[in-house]
Amino acid sequence: MDEIKELKKRIFLTAYKAGAAHLASAFSVIDVLYVLYCKSILTYDLENPWMESRDRLIMSKGHASLALYVILNKIGMIRDEELESFCQPGSHLGGEPKMGAAPGIEASTGSLGHGLPFAVGVALACKMNGYNNKIYVVIGDGECQEGTIWEAVMAAVRFKLDNLVVIMDDNRLQAMDSVEEIMGISSWRDRWEAFGFEVEEINGHDLNEIETVLKRNNKCRKPRLIISHTIKGKGVSFMEGIPIWHYRMPNEEELEIVKKELGILEKELIR
């Protein structure tokens, strides 16, 4: 069974136990997170996870937290029982990430348009300290409707933050409809380039392509944007590209399809 499908299964089972999660958002971004953490791009040290000069990943689209938790669980930063407590009483892993709840959770996010401005400060501080690390920020395409994204974009360029890598999970959907329908935007490249970012585009479900681009260094002293073209809900046929699945759990009928498509056995479904 391929690793991405296995991770999606974990995401679903964890959400099923909790009774709620932003499943479709977690499914669209999981491939990129997998490559970052499991293909030696974002470096980490399990023995010393808070080392000052570490690479950092900031989930600006905090509602996709479950994808991050599942990856952190896979690499050993989050224990199984912690993950299984997701969104339940006594857990420190909520629907939106909380800074320090586990190693690898670098910022409390949830309200959109916060993670990138926060990351600008992190990237600046790391530069001031002379570190040679990278600050990765995952934002949504819909999130770019928040004004502070653009405040942060201007500052990142002005302060020459070439240690900042913004990954846009461009799944083209937001809660109510498509981003294009709601705000008339079908392409991001020109906008970010005009502001001074180095922009690349990838198929966010092609692991080789993600790896090749993420391993490449910046060409000049500019912050980078990687537009990751994805499908919201990828991996579960009836969720793919359908806005209503932004925040919803399947009914009994739909559950049968999920089980089949993600390879879930009846006995694995625990509430």
Partner: protein, 317 residues
Amino acid sequence: MRDTYLKMLYGLAKRDSEVVSLVSDNGLIVYDDFRRDFPERYYNFGIAEENMVAAAAGMASCGKIPFAYTISAFIAYRAYEFLRDDVCFQNLNVKLVGIGSGITYSTLGPSHHTTEDIGLLRSLPNLTVFSPATRAEVGWMMEEAYRIKGPVYIRLSNNKEEYYDTNTEFLIGKPAIIQPGSNLTIMVTGTIINEVMKAVRELENDGISVEVVSVHTLKPLDTKYIAKLIQNAECLVMVEEHNVIGGLYSAVAEVMAKENIMVPNLAIGLPDMFAVDYGQLDAVRRANGLDGKSIYEKIRNFVDKVSYGKSNNNKYK
């Protein structure tokens, strides 16, 4: 007050290389010394206060001690959610320094006033809220802000007057006694102290002995200390250049309710309204009943009522 702030900031930056200065397109000239001597620790974020506050939080998460400086209204209102989610919720070591607090920008009107900031910010967990009255308080506050490992808001405006001796000792959460008195206690926060002191001279001419207390820390408040301070007051007056909802009056009323203290009390501030009119600060204070004369009249009226109620015989001139 701003000069004291900058002098202190410069000293802290010299002492500790983690101290960083952030501004959002303000502080022309006044930051020259800092920029000259610590250019690598000075960042102008442009007209983007939300970004500045969130970035300050990001810097603090890496061990920096950012002092983010801009007009108070743009910290308290414009950047409120960033102050809440990024700074306070994560309990990060960010210092927010607001200038032109209260109705200092008297010619500009309510867009540039901060007359609800104490109410808003006092309710944010983890945040220390300072509201200095004089330069001596600012000097102490800057040391205190640096000592505190967490978020701090300092509500600056202008004041050339000074009411403290150079050796006055300030303590966080404990209001400072500017002068003792026995008939009336006035609690005041911020630079409206100058108008209060004008009123006090008038009250003293009437034979009323007035205790004046400066509440430089709005949060945390030492409840027991304040309870002790006010429980035997004949009359208690709170004066603030702020809405009477949510600010000093509310904070003291919370102490009274909690400690079961009932003393006759009066709130002087903006009565749930935005400040009206334009002009020099004196004129706008007058238009809003916050000048020395208006404050005197309100207090005198109140004292007379309380006094009649007690003895049916007004003991003051």
